[in-house]
Symmetry: C2
Subunit: 253 residues, 2 copies
């Protein structure tokens, strides 16, 4: 299945490499950043598409993995493309393609990607949606080649998933970063926390998080809660976060 | 080195098993919960101590792993014990032992323990502190048998570590739980988020969290931020957390 990749960011790169590894011939890569496009094209033995309307007409699958607010513009320039066209965004409705394409959908990988870290794509939940029976069958076939975890998820559910992912990934990562800030102020090494962070995530792979909640707030350990707040007295931002999250934990007791 | 374990909760259990595996003869186990004491004694081939003042006088190491606010009471009842006595709490000062013992310290394992999940103790950072040269040397020798990551950390630093651990473990776990709540309301399976949670923790094993922050807040993606807040309009608690953490992330841009 001859494929084009639009974009050269983290999602585009990981997806292109997973498709390449699954024997999908990547024919063309386009990116607003021509240099990144060249790097990705080289890695996937494909060629760079200079302009979107020059997309090879024999391409059967076109995957748009660009910033959310660029999807509509890119799709507009690909108007008339005859294959299956999909985007990879959690928060953008499938309707962005309506009217301009016959076969379209969404292939949303529910994972966080960084350029220099390999991800086992086989375990990445792929959430798919398409505009009709033929499209969804085709997209299922594509997704199954990439991952063992493919789910049909409609636009409303995908928005919810995207929101939940902010709570499950973006916010925890920020808290890791605040923890590092706290250690830094006292010349303590972030390495001390790394095993704890990994184990916290590992625990909820089987258990439900509410069942394994630990710490002073869930015990309503008033003394420790007060001591922690005293330590944060000079940092109003951290103090507010400490109080907001501790109150929320206490309510689950 | 003949050892006694005071406590039978998660820390006591994991530590006792790690000591047992490292060939420390566990001689006695005490717990306010006699049934749990019996289970732990059986698992470590030791016997149950019925009362604290009945501690075997030939014991060389006594580890107190009970709730923070019970440490002083327990220590008081062990007064006169001649070996090395330590507690395992992040937030309790070493002084809780002062005056009543000759050799004392703290052995704080910076990890989250659940009863039914094995932890590779060799990777657990063990933060140690003791009241003198002889005690710290002895405690070093004990800790090195258990973990490859032993650090001398004084009481002030330990308090900071304990606070940072709340940000790195307790708060993220609560956010996982809120993510599950969001999915639940829309009949979506928490399994969809598990690979994401694991990868988020895995990423910061090498990288610094601030360098791998993703999501709408760090991009200042105003549209998505507004859409997410609209989805949370009926849940003031979640909305407050969303806003507090998003604002904090935005400040790091």
């Amino acid at each position: 299945m001859k494929t084009a990749i639009i974009g050269s960011g983290n999602v585009a790169t990981h997806l292109a490499k997973a498709l390449h590894a699954a024997q999908f011939p990547i024919a063309q890569v386009w990116s607003a950043n021509q240099q990144n496009a060249a790097i990705l094209a080289k890695a996937t033995h494909s060629s760079v598409m200079n302009q979107l309307h020059l997309i090879d007409p024999t391409i059967e699958l076109c995957i748009i993995a660009v910033k959310d607010d660029a999807i509509a513009t890119v799709a507009d320039q690909l108007k008339g493309f005859k294959g299956l066209i999909v985007h990879t965004a959690g928060a953008v409705p499938i309707d962005v393609f309506a009217g301009n394409f016959e076969n379209y959908g969404v292939l949303y990988p529910l994972q966080t990607f960084s350029k220099h870290k390999t991800v086992d794509f086989k375990t990445v939940p792929l959430c798919i949606e398409a505009n009709g029976v033929a499209s969804i069958q085709l997209l299922h076939a594509v997704a199954r080649q990439l991952s063992g975890n493919v789910q049909e998820i409609d636009g409303t559910q995908r928005k919810i998933l995207h929101l939940a992912a902010v709570f499950a990934c973006n916010f925890p990562n920020h808290l890791f970063s605040l923890a590092e800030e706290i250690l830094d102020e006292h010349q303590l090494d972030f390495n001390l926390l790394r095993p704890l962070i990994l184990e916290t995530a590992s625990k909820v792979q089987q258990a439900l998080p509410a069942d394994v909640q630990t710490g002073p707030a869930i015990r309503n350990d008033v003394q420790t809660l007060a001591a922690h707040q005293a330590l944060l007295a000079h940092q109003p931002k951290l103090l507010e976060i400490y109080q907001t999250l501790s109150e929320s934990i206490k309510k689950t007791r």
